[in-house]
Amino acid sequence: MNTGILLQIAQTLLAILLAPLLMGWVNQCRAWLQGRSAPPLIQPYRTLKKLFHKEAVIAHNASPLFRFAPYMIFACMALAAGLVPTLVNDLPFSPAADAIALVGVFALARVFLALAAMDIGTSFGTLGARREMLVSFLAEPALLMVFFTASLISHSTELPTIVETLAHKEFVIYPSMAFAAVAFWMVSTAENARIPVDNPTTHLELTMIHEAMILEYSARHLALIEWAVALKLFTYSALGIALFVPWGIAPHGDFAALPLAVLALLVKMILGGATLSFLEAISAKVRLFRAPEFLGTAFLLGVLGMLIHFLLEV
């Protein structure tokens, strides 16, 4: 039990520490695809360090919620990172929250971010909050549908059980998971503010969704939020790996498989980051009012995946 808790803390800390590296790798791949040279891989760490050293500049009319939100968002993302099995399956914390609660954790962080954005009372904050809630009202059910499809196959909504079913039972191709995979990609671009839903590198406020919400933040608050965003991308990647390519995650209590698990994680993250940049490079950002259509398609694909499960896999 004690080794379990130590492993749990180690896994969470590893996720927190590696997340900016994943962000750096995605930026690197994107730069290669765009034919330019990229900043070094550890640039996000340098940015975070710089931000932490700065003095926080806060608007006159900011309420305590504004200053509390970054810590809350970071804590929620850390919790999510601890829940998703990255290295070892079935750690002691996972019975506390299942896949539906994971979606709830993401929703909690998002609501706090949206409220903090509305706190200052400028047009950009409310614009960002409104657009973020618009995108998420379809993205969240779509993510739930993906989890439901996985749970129908594994007869459980517990992430460890899902991973175990999909990884350690016989190698079976699940067509419903193919639908779920497409839906999951669409949802993760929406939730992580990537193309085709949102452009993470835009400087034009009127085209922003996620960036507009954090315009007012500076210094350590901004650092925490940027870190939380990187952590969210890492968690989503880990979630995608756990659901669709789970082979390599060490089973419960099997410490001999840890080195293989670490290696597998690194390889999968590298490939996943590269795939993400590739898909970003070949897509164009959709108009804001096409985003509900985009996410509606994801939602309906998730529903289709469940229906296919009933037809083909029962």
Binding site: A96, D98, G121, L152, V314
Partner: protein
């Protein structure tokens, strides 16, 4: 002297004593108009009565049922009262929510003039007494009398400010639909008693429980009950009175109506379907599930486009009632398919949601009431920035908003989680279409929950955050200590119901056992909720909460220790436009515009936009309910046309009236002497 102890009296007698206590308080208010000081004590005493009622309900939940017969009522049908597990649970709900709301009301109504305060006290306590008697009634007559008392007292409460025509109209609509529902309930009881019209004893619930109904008549009774109770609960399409009446009433009354009165309708539906009707049909469940999901989505879509605080909350109540009704339908589907354990799970989820809704909706309405009281504005477009002026109200309302959005670790998440788990278990059903369609239905519940989060961000963000949109905010003041205490109680309820689900489910199990014959087995521990099987799904909110709190503190301390906590204030980022004012931020209508654009097929949108040559440009946007035009106006026109035709009978000429009397006399003579 023989000693009398507390246990000499059955819980139902305590409950009835509570009802009489409230009636006494209400009527004595009329006589205490000279003594303002004593009058001010009425509401706090009423709150204590509510707390006592909750205690009685708890005792009934944990013990056996009890029943008494009172010497009032019809000659052959005196009032039968019964307090079993189902009534006990709803009594806990009523008492718990009413305690917080009445405490709040004691502060809210403090500044009314004496005459109005006395009348308010009378109707308020009559309302509470009526609702309790509905929960206790064990025969049709007592039930209908209590139902009418509830409807009439709430009508007078809704039309407190009857000098405004809008409020009069809202009251009229409310009374109309309440009575249409009541007629349907009367007919339902008539069907339930099994056709033995002469016997008065047939109208007791005891008799109805043993009556054997043919399936056709059972379905008729169910449909009548669904219509009647649905009209009171706010099911689509009988929901039109809710968004009018709840905003028109004073805020504590809205809190009680939304939080408790709608649940008495749910209680009635559960009582009739599971207790009084012996054999249920499967298609009832499918009908209820469909209606519930439609109601949930309809309610939350309209909530997203409202600019009036209380209308938004009223539509949100419609959404939650839809979710509860969807759970009810699913329970019926499982129960009639023979899956008792799954029916128990779903019933637990729906009862939990009803309990949750009483607390967080009560909290939200009381918060909105505090804002209304402080600023005089109900329109969110005139508010904003209230968090700095009313911090207690703001933070407590935030708890309510997070709870209703279904965010962990608060209470809304637990009931939604349980309901989603129930939906995921439907592939085990034997019916071909249903086991495919119901997971799709789970998608609708998830959609409604996500939209509820949108609505709450809008509500809280536009009202409390940002910059003040009008001068009304400048004169706002924090709510009084009594109001804050009431809100604190309700918020504590939300938090506790969210952190200790296993204990709450243990409390709910007698009810579930009574209605479905099985209970929900928790495969976890006191800490962890695992409804069917720990392998399948589990949730431990205390651990969740603890981890978030610990991480928060650790990060905060690390940042302060490793770096620093320096801060300075400056102007917000204005992107080079120096004249940022309060109108640059989203208005309530603006925040809901994306939803309006996506779902405009359901609404009748009326817009008045300025043209370039207007000297005083004005923008007016209104999203109205299409069902009003599609369903209600034709019915109203038909009724008017029919009345017009019948009105032709009224000529005003005496000859014709004499002829009517003469014809009736001849008719009676002919047919009675046969």
């Amino acid at each position: 002297m023989p000693t009398v102890s507390l246990s000499d009296f059955a819980p139902v007698e305590y409950a009835w004593a509570g009802v009489l206590f409230w009636l006494a308080l209400g009527f004595s208010a009329l006589f205490l108009q000279r003594l303002r000081g004593l009058l001010a004590l009425i509401f706090p005493l009423g709150a204590l009565g509510a707390l006592g009622m909750a205690g009685v309900g708890l005792a009934a939940l944990m013990g056996a049922g009890s029943a008494i017969v009172l010497p009032i009522g019809l000659p052959e049908l005196p009032f039968h009262l019964r307090l079993d597990a189902l009534s006990g649970l709803f009594l806990v709900l009523l008492g718990g929510a009413a305690f917080g709301v009445t405490l709040y009301a004691s502060g809210y109504f403090r500044q009314l003039d004496t005459a109005r305060l006395a009348l308010m006290a009378l109707w308020f306590h009559l309302f509470l007494a009526g609702m309790t008697t509905v929960l206790l009634a064990d025969d049709a007559y007592a039930f209908m009398v209590a139902w009418e008392v509830m409807a009439l007292s709430s009508y007078f409460l809704v039309t407190t400010d009857h000098d405004q025509p809008d409020i009069r109209r809202a009251g009229f609509l409310y009374l109309l639909i309440a009575h249409v529902g009541a007629v349907s309930l009367l007919l339902c009881f008539g069907v339930l008693q099994g056709g033995d019209i002469g016997q008065m004893q047939a109208y007791t619930f005891e008799y109805m429980r043993s009556a054997e109904l043919a399936p056709f008549w059972a379905s008729v009774a169910f449909l009548l009950a669904l219509f009647g109770f649905g009209a009171k609960a706010g099911l689509v399409p009988m929901h039109v009175w809710l968004p009018e009446a709840h905003p028109a009433a004073p805020s504590p009354v809205s809190a009680l109506m939304s939080g408790v009165m709608l649940k008495t309708a749910i209680y009635g539906l559960l009582r009739v379907t599971f207790d009084l009707i012996n054999v249920q049909e499967g298609w009832w469940g499918t009908l209820a599930l469909t209606l519930g999901l439609v109601t949930a989505l309809y309610g939350v879509i309209f909530a997203a486009v409202q600019a009036d605080m209380k209308r938004l909350l009223a539509w949100s109540s419609i959404e939650n009632i839809g979710v509860i009704l969807a759970g009810f339908g699913l329970t019926l589907i499982f129960y009639t398919d023979g899956k008792g354990a799954l029916a128990a799970l779903t019933l637990t989820a729906l009862l939990y949601h009803a309990l949750n809704h009483a607390f967080f909706k009560g909290l939200l309405f009381t918060g909105a009431g505090a804002v209304l009281h402080a600023t005089g504005e109900r329109n969110m477009d005139k508010l904003g920035g209230l968090m700095r002026v009313m911090p207690w109200t703001a933070w407590l309302t935030l708890i309510g908003a997070l709870a209703i959005a279904g965010l962990p670790p608060l209470n809304g998440f637990v009931s939604e989680w349980l309901l989603l788990q129930a939906f995921l278990l439907t592939p085990g059903l034997n019916q071909p279409y249903l086991n495919m369609v119901i997971p799709v239905a789970a998608a609708s519940v998830a959609l409604a929950a996500a939209l509820a989060a949108y609505v709450m961000v809008k509500f809280f963000g536009v009202t409390f955050l940002g910059v003040a949109r009008s001068p009304a905010v400048a004169q706002a003041h924090e709510a009084g200590w009594r109001e804050r205490l009431g809100m604190l109680w309700l918020a504590a309820g939300c938090v506790l119901l969210g952190l200790f689900p296993t204990q709450v489910i243990a409390l709910l199990s007698p009810v579930v056992l009574q209605l479905t014959g099985q209970t929900l087995v928790n495969d976890g521990s006191w800490l962890m909720l695992a409804p069917v099987d720990a392998e399948r799904a589990s949730y431990a909110p205390l651990v969740f909460f603890a981890v978030v709190l610990v991480t928060l503190l650790l990060v905060f301390i690390w940042v302060r220790y490793a770096y620093h906590g320096r801060m300075r204030r400056a102007d917000p980022w204005d992107c080079g436009y120096p004249e940022q004012d309060a109108r640059m931020q989203d208005s309530a209508e603006g925040f809901g515009q994306p939803i309006r654009q996506i779902f405009d097929a359901f609404m009748r949108v009326e817009r008045e936009t300025p043209d370039p040559f207007d000297r005083h440009p004005r923008y007016r946007g209104d999203s109205r309910d299409k069902l009003w035009v599609l369903v209600y106006q034709p019915i109203a026109n038909l009724a008017a046309w029919l009345s017009d035709r019948v009105g032709r009978l009224q000529h005003g000429r005496i000859q014709w009236y004499l002829i009517y009397s003469f014809a009736t006399l001849i008719f009676l003579l002919v047919f009675v002497t046969r």
